[in-house]
Symmetry: C2
Subunit: 334 residues, 2 copies
């Protein structure tokens, strides 16, 4: 079945309001989860509602938190998510960064005491919709070892990037630094299937193709030592700089066990007008975009979401009837 | 044979002064090339002297250029390298960014009409020596295709990152986004050896293990689509933002053919004091560094250079006697 985007957002928001979450926070979370669902990022979409609401009920995430913003310098914001959902903290950052970056050329917002931030690319895309080039870095509970290491230290630590274009939606880069998402290994283990070499190690740090052994081991980074070095970089930018919890200190985003994960995130926004100038920037972007034409099947990063959004706006969001029933039951449970 | 660092720098500087380069520019280039040699990055070290001086003599690089700095906003600098060597432009950026970042929390410098910038990690390391967290992005002549593409579009597009530590040298990340450097494929072709799968494609965009075919094809990115997306990001940050030449527009860094490469670079400097505060930052960094202990053979990124520098400071820089003679001949040729 399909539901109109707005109706689905309202339903999801009601499920959160019924789970110890204020209406503004519930709306912010619902908007993000439904957008992820629309954009084909189901791992960050409606599948998260049960675990998020469970964590709000248990107090592992504080559904009442109002993010606290400190403008520490003219280009620097620190946002304390106060153990609440990440999305309201990102909303504040995205609201405030454009004026800062416009005034000084570049600005950054650090977020601490934070939680799972979903599709990182969507946050930078919103900054690009405001005319800015934007970068984001986020840490996640530990999954990868440092290079030549045996034990987990880094999360899958996504990096996201977006850039405005003239007469076209922003181009968006969004990637985790592991070869594959943990979910792929979980599903291989459930189906008793082997995994390809290069995805993971067992608990002794040895390469494995056994999905079950991989689950107690580590995920391997892209590009061997290079991906591990990038994961280190993300750990410093998202955590060391903001005073958040390292990936190896963070509790799970999925269950209600332990204290809040307390991870960190960093958003950086750059005003193209302060460098080569907006017109030069948009001209150069058009040249870069043109260079993707007639080059095999190459497309600008993030292109897939555009057709998916048009379809969802026209036809509604595809939703499993059981998920729909479950959401309605949650929304009634207040 | 070994030469004291300072003596080698003087000799290299003299070789540039003899090749249509001003003394301040020659000193800047010599310092960077000798540092690369000391740090074990020979591909960015003395091997570059013949091609750099040849380009200066031919006017492909302007050895007399004095980089032009515009402070466009309180956190934004644009530096026009005016077709000269990249190092004097980086020197200016590294001199000016700390005050800007200190005042506003974060600052960036874009460099255009630029040239090969050598060890990108060294530039960010210098900013970390001034107490800042720093990022750098540089484009290079085209080598990689976009994902699912056939033709070259991106350079190997390095990313570098450095962070200060308490009572320890900065940790430094520095990596190109191709699986391997082109030099490895060149050397396999010269020895008639095959290359591993996953390094390169032939000129039709098909994967190849034939080193000779790979030379007319493309280098493959780390992490498949992910590395290609990061290369796109670098292209936007280093080029679109600064108004420089894209990788597919840039001439070679190695020969004196064509116009100046005109590539671009972006440096970003962040003051930790403007986010969680310097003491929290240094405490968190110490915790992160400790987490590398007793974890297999893992080490903080960039650790190798430290012992190499100590050895060079104590014993001098190892140099082939023929290279020494060649440098002396160049220095005399004025």
């Amino acid at each position: 079945m399909k539901l109109p985007i707005r109706e689905l957002e309202d339903l999801v928001a009601s499920a959160f309001i019924a789970a110890a979450t204020t209406e503004p926070n519930a709306r912010s979370v619902a908007r993000a989860l439904v957008q992820a669902e629309v954009d084909g990022q189901k791992g960050h979409g409606l599948t998260r509602v049960p675990s998020y609401t469970q964590q709000a009920r248990a107090g592992k995430v504080d559904g009442h938190a109002v993010p606290e913003v400190s403008t520490t310098r003219s280009s620097a914001l620190m946002i304390d998510a106060l153990g609440g959902f990440a999305y309201p903290a990102f909303d504040r950052a995205i609201e405030l960064l454009p004026a800062s970056a416009g005034a000084t050329g570049i600005a950054a917002a650090g977020i601490m005491h934070s939680h799972h931030c979903g599709v990182l690319g969507r946050h930078v895309e919103r900054l690009s919709e405001a005319g800015l080039v934007a970068l984001a870095f986020a840490n996640t509970p530990d999954a990868m070892a440092p290079w030549c290491g045996k034990r987990r230290l880094f999360g899958t630590n996504p990096i996201a990037f977006a850039t405005p274009q003239r007469n076209a939606p922003p181009a968006v880069v969004d990637l985790a630094l592991s070869q594959v998402a943990r979910g792929k290994i979980l599903s291989a283990a459930q189906n008793n299937e082997p995994i390809p070499e290069g995805w993971a190690t067992d608990q002794d740090g040895q390469p494995t193709t056994d999905a079950k052994k991989a689950l107690s081991g580590t995920l391997l980074p892209i590009g061997e030592a290079k991906g591990a070095a990038l994961a280190f970089m993300v750990e410093v930018l998202a955590v060391t700089l903001t005073g958040a919890n390292f990936s190896f200190e963070a509790s799970s985003f999925f269950d209600d066990k332990g204290g809040p994960p307390g991870v960190g995130q960093l958003l950086v926004a750059i005003d193209p007008d302060a460098f080569a100038g907006r017109e030069v920037f948009l001209d150069r972007m058009a040249t870069l975009s043109d260079a993707f034409q007639d080059n095999g099947d190459a497309r600008l990063p993030g292109s897939r979401r555009i057709a998916l959004r048009e379809a969802a706006a026209r036809d509604g969001v595809e939703i499993d009837p059981r998920t729909h029933e479950a959401l309605k039951a949650m929304a009634r449970s207040a």
